[in-house]
């Protein structure tokens, strides 16, 4: 189990939501759980990854940098519980989580 911890300055579309948190995905082989929660430093987004597949720090960092360039999640924390998902699945779950957050904000 590898643990990674990142902090990002965000840009892009501001994510507004009435919801305090959202959870998507499951921790099963090749999949992951994404939990997004309001709180923490309002000027940035903190990301914590726990993954069963170590050695991909650069890919994770680049993926979040891209994602948080597209969506402004300042003042949120993202928790990832990963069971070896490929980046495609990671991205899908992140997008699903943000879509759910934004829909709850309406």
């Amino acid at each position: 189990m590898e643990k990674l911890d990142f902090t990002f300055r965000c840009s892009g579309e501001r994510v507004e939501s009435a919801a305090v948190s959202v959870l998507v995905g499951v921790v099963s082989s090749g999949n992951l759980e994404v939990f997004i929660e309001k709180g923490g430093d309002p000027s940035c987004c903190r990301v914590e990854v726990a993954t069963s597949h170590g050695g991909f720090e650069r890919a994770w960092r680049t993926l979040f940098a891209d994602f948080l360039f597209q969506y402004d999640l300042s003042g949120y924390a993202i928790w990832i519980n990963d069971a070896g998902a490929v980046p495609a699945v990671v991205k899908l779950r992140l997008h699903q989580a943000v879509e759910e957050l934004m829909e709850k904000g309406r």
């Binding site: 991909f56 890919a59 070896g84 490929v86 980046p87 495609a88 699945v89 899908l92 997008h95 879509e99």
Partner: protein, 548 residues
């Protein structure tokens, strides 16, 4: 006079020897090895029928049982190397050289034969390319084919799976070759005649029916959200804007997902009748919902698919069928249609380099191509227009200097950036380049050349290579959809940002696709059982696909 008769004399000589063993056209199966040893001469070009579907497996096994002292140095010409008996021919020294198309199942053993110098590979072809050589420099002296049934006169019925039989029979029969057929049964009257008996020299009723693989059956239960997301992107981002009506889908789950989204997502986008009306395609069970919902108007098949027989028989408006009601397939003619008459080919692959070249060959495994290179290339001899073909041609003409209007086939590669075991699909150099050196070949086994590809689709987005202004932009467009693979991470963020702004790269959000919509709920059928229901019970899946 005689100097013009060598081939005819050769056939007379072979038949004379054969008649010592088998005086009539119908031969007992116990005599097959003796028959082959009598007919085949040292160094002959021998074709064993067998592609990715049906196999003349009894005759292949008989040839492999021949005495290497009696039959040797053969030059095998075969669509596929897919049976252990095919490999045994080379291990025993019966055959020395091979020209072929496809070797998926035996790819690793083939690579070891090459390493041990037990085999000399002429070339790895695409199907219609090898058929073409039957009529040029690789005409068989002896061909071993298979059919469903024969009558006493040797007329053959090939049923739903004519596939390669017609083209092999034609090349052999009309150049004084010897044509030997294995059949499942001998009957008094055939449902229809697919190969005339006067082309056929010998018929053997094999002890068991020829083997056939249900290669094109994809269980909808195995489709995941990523494949559904990519299928949505293809329908909305490629099929709709180009108005793709005439097409082929490669084998694989990505394209199965597209087929299963047509009646749901495609219908919701109002695309029925304007896309995906005419197909060159094996009868994929996953196409049943699109057929039943009226999307599909016609399907011409290179082969059949086990379990689809009764469904096809009940849909003669869709499929090409004989007066007896069973389907006529013909891989050679289907590939002619696939080369000249398609708007679009879409298929998956194992590796793509940064110039868009793709290959399924990986180190230690010689997979071959099948039909993909013929479908996945622009048809430069095409002279008829269609809206999709003309639009693609106009896009290409923006940056390629052309003085006359011309069209362009859409050639789409659809891949996930990583495969299941974490292997990156995008690479700086194809394994095919190393394989070329290992095999002593002059060219690498590239499946689709980068300059033939128009679009690359990944979970990241669609790269439209027609809109790239130069080679450097193309490379950035490929890297731009290569995600977090090493080749993707070497992209220039600025260049990719510019390609997104210009619409060269389109991401799901640029197409207005909600990621949350990429759910298995969107599939017209979520299991094989639901495919059976769509077919009103006419589709009868092979046992290995029945999970209920």
């Amino acid at each position: 006079m005689e100097q013009w008769q060598h081939l005819r004399e050769g056939k007379r000589r072979r038949l004379e020897r054969a008649r010592q063993i088998a005086p009539s056209k119908i031969v007992r199966h116990e005599q097959t090895v003796d028959l082959l040893q009598a007919v085949i001469e040292k160094g002959d070009r021998v074709c064993i029928e067998g592609d990715n579907q049906k196999q003349a497996d009894f005759l292949a096994a008989a040839l492999a049982r021949c005495d290497a002292g009696a039959v040797s140095d053969l030059h095998m010409i075969m669509s596929s190397i897919s049976l252990p008996e095919h490999i045994a021919l080379f291990e025993k020294g019966i055959a020395r050289t091979v020209d072929f198309c496809y070797s998926a199942r035996e790819g690793a053993r083939l690579a070891s034969l090459v390493a041990n110098r037990k085999i000399s590979i002429g070339a790895i072809h695409t199907y219609p390319e090898l058929y073409a050589r039957y009529f040029m420099d690789l005409t068989p002296h002896v061909s071993l084919i298979c059919a469903d049934a024969a009558d006493g006169a040797g007329n053959l019925y090939t049923g739903f799976n004519t596939e390669d039989t017609a083209v092999i029979a034609e090349a052999t029969a009309f150049r004084n070759g010897v044509l030997i057929a294995q059949v499942n049964e001998i009957v008094d009257a055939l449902p229809r005649t697919d190969i005339p008996g006067d082309w056929v020299d010998f018929v053997v009723k094999s002890p068991s029916p020829y083997s056939i693989t249900p290669l094109f059956t994809r269980d909808p239960a195995d489709l995941n959200e990523i494949k559904i997301l990519m299928a949505m992107m293809v329908i909305k981002g490629i099929y709709a804007p180009y108005g793709v009506r005439y097409l082929n889908h490669g084998i694989g789950y990505n394209t199965a997902a597209i087929e299963l989204l047509l009646p749901t997502y495609g219908e919701a986008l109002g695309l029925k009748g304007s896309i995906c009306t005419h197909w060159m395609l094996n009868p994929h069970p996953t196409l049943i919902p699109a057929i039943e919902s009226g999307f599909v108007q016609a399907v011409y098949c290179p082969g059949s698919e086990v379990g689809m027989e009764e469904y096809i028989r009940a849909r003669p408006d869709i499929f090409f069928t004989g007066h007896d009601g069973s389907m006529r397939s013909n891989r050679c003619l289907a590939h002619l249609a696939g080369h000249y008459a398609l708007d679009l080919f879409i298929g998956s692959t194992l590796q793509i380099d940064t110039r868009g070249n793709s290959s399924t060959a990986t180190v230690g495994r010689i997979a071959g191509f099948g039909g993909a290179p013929n479908l996945g290339c622009d048809a430069r001899g095409r002279r008829h227009g269609s809206p999709a073909w003309l639009k693609a041609g106009q896009e290409q003409a923006r940056y390629a200097k052309r003085s006359l209007p011309r069209g362009r086939k859409l050639v789409v590669q659809i891949v996930e950036t990583f495969q299941e075991r974490g292997t990156p699909t995008f690479v700086e150099e194809l394994d095919a380049v190393k394989l070329m050196r290992d095999m002593g070949q002059e060219i690498p086994p590239v499946m689709v050349y980068g300059d033939d590809v128009t679009h690359i689709v990944t979970e990241e987005g669609i790269a439209n290579l027609l809109l790239c202004r130069n080679e450097e932009e193309r490379i950035q467009a490929v890297r731009g959809v290569a995600g977090y693979t090493p080749a993707g991470l070497r992209r220039s963020a600025a260049a990719v940002g510019n390609l997104i702004a210009r619409g060269v790269i389109t991401r799901p959000q640029d197409l207005g696709i909600r990621w949350s919509d990429a759910s298995t709920d969107l599939l017209a059928a979520r299991s094989v059982r639901e495919l059976v229901e769509w077919s009103k019970g006419l589709y009868r899946p092979p046992r290995q696909f029945i999970r209920w």
